[in-house]
């Protein structure tokens, strides 16, 4: 797999590059800011870009904006945004327009080569990746009347994995059950939470995240 890595902090960028190269991923270019990132993506046509959310010049959301640009201009290129913020609203912003082939991971996680490479593979397969910490925060949120209390432990687990962006197949593998069982759980979850979206749709991650963030569900 060919990737471009963009991070303005050299220490982190090179750490990521070494990690990826050790894992057999082909890093075709590095960038220190959003502009050179977009140029490299245009020139090298990688399979995916790994983008730090905070980059020059304002160090605010340049990475997020660049990620959205890549998804719009080059739909075939996947984007994995790295962030130090457990910030569901950033993840939502990233997913909103193009929920497939994108990912939002906490930066500390990327030094686990297995996690990083797995995320890249899932993005390459057209899936969505949402950091488990963010999902955990959304699931663990204090609610006055918790509709999630209606779910069984297993259904909660399935809901979490749905929110992380896993496909039914991936959930089945993770939980050591059949895909069929997962399908049943997903239907049940959608029914109990009164989610109207087709559970098969690739936009279901967005629907689940939106539901979990929604005021009325709290």
């Amino acid at each position: 797999m060919r990737v471009v890595v963009a991070d303005d902090v050299m220490l982190t960028r090179e750490g990521i590059v070494r990690l990826l190269e050790d894992a057999g991923v082909d890093v075709v270019a590095q960038a220190a800011d959003a502009e050179s990132l977009l140029r490299e993506v245009r020139l090298k046509r990688p399979d995916a870009a790994i983008v730090d959310i905070r980059m020059p010049p304002t160090h605010s959301d340049e990475g997020l904006v660049a990620a959205q640009r890549i998804r719009t201009d080059h739909p075939e290129v996947g984007v994995l945004v790295l962030s130090q913020y457990v910030e569901p609203s950033y993840a939502m912003r990233l997913l909103e327009e193009h929920p497939e082939r994108v990912g939002y991971l906490l930066k500390q996680r990327v030094f686990d080569a297995a996690v990083l490479v797995d995320a890249l593979r899932r993005i390459d397969d057209g899936e969505t990746v949402v950091d488990p910490t963010i999902v955990a925060r959304l699931l663990g949120r204090r609610r006055r009347q918790d509709p999630l209390a209606e779910l069984t432990a297993r259904e909660r687990e399935v809901l979490g994995l749905l929110a992380e962006g896993l496909s039914n197949r991936a959930i089945a593998d993770r939980l050591f059950v059949t895909e069929r069982t997962v399908e049943a759980h997903v239907k049940q979850v959608f029914l109990k939470l009164a989610l109207e979206l087709n559970p098969e749709s690739h936009r279901r991650v967005l629907a689940v995240l939106a539901y979990l963030r929604d005021e009325r569900s709290s």
Binding site: Y85, S89, R144, R213
Partner: protein, 586 residues
């Protein structure tokens, strides 16, 4: 000392007035008697009455103006013009003493220069523009030269146009009829040119004057305009009929209108004296109207009303901080005089209290403002000083909070870009080392390194929470709504965010609102609440943040929150389980 000399000058003026009265009446007697044939006053009752009224009006106006404005020259000019006004009466004394006749003839030439000077110097007594100064100097010079020439060379017996003193010229050195005639012609056209110049200078002054000044100028300047018109008419008439005949209806009408012009001028001066007196009275009344505890600025509006200048501004001087403020203590620029605005410094007990900027034309404001108003001014100055200090204090309080917030943002950025990045790199190295040890079969080291990696990850998480608590990056980047949503997701109690504003506010407002909610949620958790409802909504010029919870009654006074809101000039209302903060946001 000054007061004594003023009093002495006034006594002299009063005496001059009395003398003028006697002198005017005597002149009338002369004109009605022996001068009957050669003066207008001798020829018609109307002319006589108007001429005497005009001369005495100038005298009375002169004395009255002198009393009202002892330092101005206007009163003296009017008084002198009044004396000179009667000169033709004496000059026309048939069979009178030759010296008096000669002097009368010479003095008569100075009536117009004095009146021109008077009109141009009104109201201050000084000639402010270069044009006016040049004009007045030229008029006096011409009158003097003409008088000198006529005295030396004009023999009345050779003057066919002589009617006023065909009897004597005691100063005659040598009779030069052609020269005398030339002088007379020059006088004629010079007078017409002067009249035209006077008109244009007056028009120019009116055009440039403020409304207030124009109101003061009009009464006197109309007299000046009529006088100029009459002078031109007189020159034209003399050019056509070289013999000035006091029985000719054209000349009589010119004389009558001239008298009316002078009366108008004198009445204008008297009106100015009267309105200044009225104004002083209304200024003095201000204090009584203000009452015991006037609101800041009411003195300014009362003075503006009394003076009749709505643009009037008072700037109070604060000696400690060496600056000017308005009545509410807000800093203002030092008022500077312009062509239409005058500046009067007001002093009390030898110290500058305030500076009043007002329309030009309000003369003697310094004198009009009596001791009672001055005391009121000093009171308002003290009030303004306190308000200014309060204002400074409030600003410094806001600055302190803002500096703190800037520091928090910097700290958060430093943590993110520094410590967090290093910890990330460290955890990568630990992981790599762990993998290497495992590869070499050193499982003990690998396990230790694995534990260290875990510790580094925990440290990273804690650091992240710390940075978030110091200053949430999302607040700066996305605003209050998203920041509150994040706050609610991580809160220790169930937090329901109601309406939040979609628009952005200045950073200090957003930060204050955020920390109000953050601290109030922590407080709710401490009081055992399980639920808190939060709403933030713009209400006119204020951002209103509301919070209600189901915890036990509050015991804390929420000092931090109150300080933060107060620093921005906002208000905090605390009830046992609710809280409402209003933060100005416009």
């Amino acid at each position: 000392m000054a007061r004594v000399s003023v009093r002495r000058a006034n006594i002299a003026r009063l005496a001059a007035g009395a003398v003028a009265l006697a002198y005017g009446l005597t002149a009338l007697a002369v004109a009605r008697g022996p001068g009957a044939l050669t003066t207008y006053a001798g020829q018609s009752d109307l002319a006589a009455a108007l001429a005497v009224v005009a001369g005495l009006a100038l005298v009375v106006a002169g004395v009255a103006t002198s009393f009202a404005r002892p330092d101005g020259r206007i009163g003296d000019l009017a008084l002198l013009a009044g004396f000179v006004w009667f000169a033709p009466f004496w000059a026309g004394w048939n069979g009178g003493p030759p010296l008096i006749l000669s002097l009368g003839t010479l003095a008569a030439g100075f009536a117009v220069p004095l009146l021109v000077h008077l009109v141009l110097a009104y109201p201050s007594g000084r000639l402010r523009s270069r044009g006016a100064r040049v004009l007045v100097a030229a008029v006096y010079l011409e009158a003097a030269l003409s008088a000198l020439g006529r005295a030396l060379f004009r023999d009345p017996f050779f003057d066919p146009s002589c009617w006023e003193n065909c009897t004597a010229n005691v100063f005659l050195v040598r009779s030069l009829p052609r020269v005398a005639h030339g002088i007379q012609d020059t006088d004629l056209w010079f007078a017409a040119a002067t009249a035209a110049a006077l008109t244009s200078v007056c028009v120019w002054r009116l055009a440039r004057a403020s409304r207030q000044t124009r109101r003061t100028l009009w009464p006197v300047l109309t007299g000046g305009f009529v006088l100029a018109a009459v002078t031109i008419a007189h020159s034209v008439a003399l050019d056509r009929m070289p013999l000035e005949d006091p029985t000719d209806p054209a000349f009589v009408s010119i004389f009558v209108v001239g008298c009316v012009a002078v009366i108008d001028l004198a009445l204008g001066l008297l009106w100015a004296v009267a309105s200044a007196r009225l104004q002083r009275r209304s200024v003095a009344r201000i204090v009584a109207q203000l009452g015991d505890a006037p609101a800041p600025g009411s003195l300014e509006s009362a003075l503006a009303k009394a003076i009749g200048d709505p643009e009037l501004r008072i700037a109070y001087w604060l000696p400690a901080s060496r600056r000017y403020v308005d009545a509410r203590g807000r800093p203002v620029e030092e008022p500077l005089a312009t062509s239409s605005r005058a500046v009067t410094p007001l002093v009390r007990g030898g110290r500058r209290v305030a500076v009043v900027a007002h329309a030009t034309g309000i003369a003697e404001l310094e004198r009009e403002i009596g001791p009672a108003v001055r005391l009121a001014l000093e009171n308002e100055r003290l009030q303004a000083e306190v308000l200014a200090q309060l204002h400074d204090l409030r600003e410094s309080r806001t600055r302190i909070v803002e500096t703190g917030d800037t520091e928090r943002r910097r700290l958060e950025r430093d943590l993110h870009d520094g410590a967090q990045q290093r910890l990330l790199a460290l955890s990568y190295d630990l992981r790599a080392a762990g993998a290497a040890s495992e590869g070499e079969g050193d499982l003990e080291t690998a396990s230790l390194l694995g534990q260290a990696t875990g510790d580094a990850r925990i440290a990273l998480g804690e650091l992240r929470e710390l940075a978030q608590g110091i200053h949430p990056a999302i607040l700066t980047e996305a605003g209050l709504g998203p920041a509150l949503a994040t706050l609610a997701e991580a809160a220790p109690v169930a937090v329901e965010i109601g309406e939040t504003p979609g628009e952005r506010y200045p950073a200090p407002v957003e930060t204050a609102a955020y920390f109000v909610v953050a601290e109030a949620i922590d407080d709710a958790a401490r009081r055992g609440a399980s639920y808190a409802a939060v709403g933030a909504l713009r209400h006119e010029q204020r951002l209103v943040v509301k919070l209600a919870d189901d915890g036990s009654a509050r015991t804390s006074e929420m000092i931090h929150v109150a300080d933060r809101v107060g620093a921005l000039g906002g208000r905090l209302e605390i009830e046992p389980t609710t809280l409402r903060a209003e933060i100005p946001c416009a």
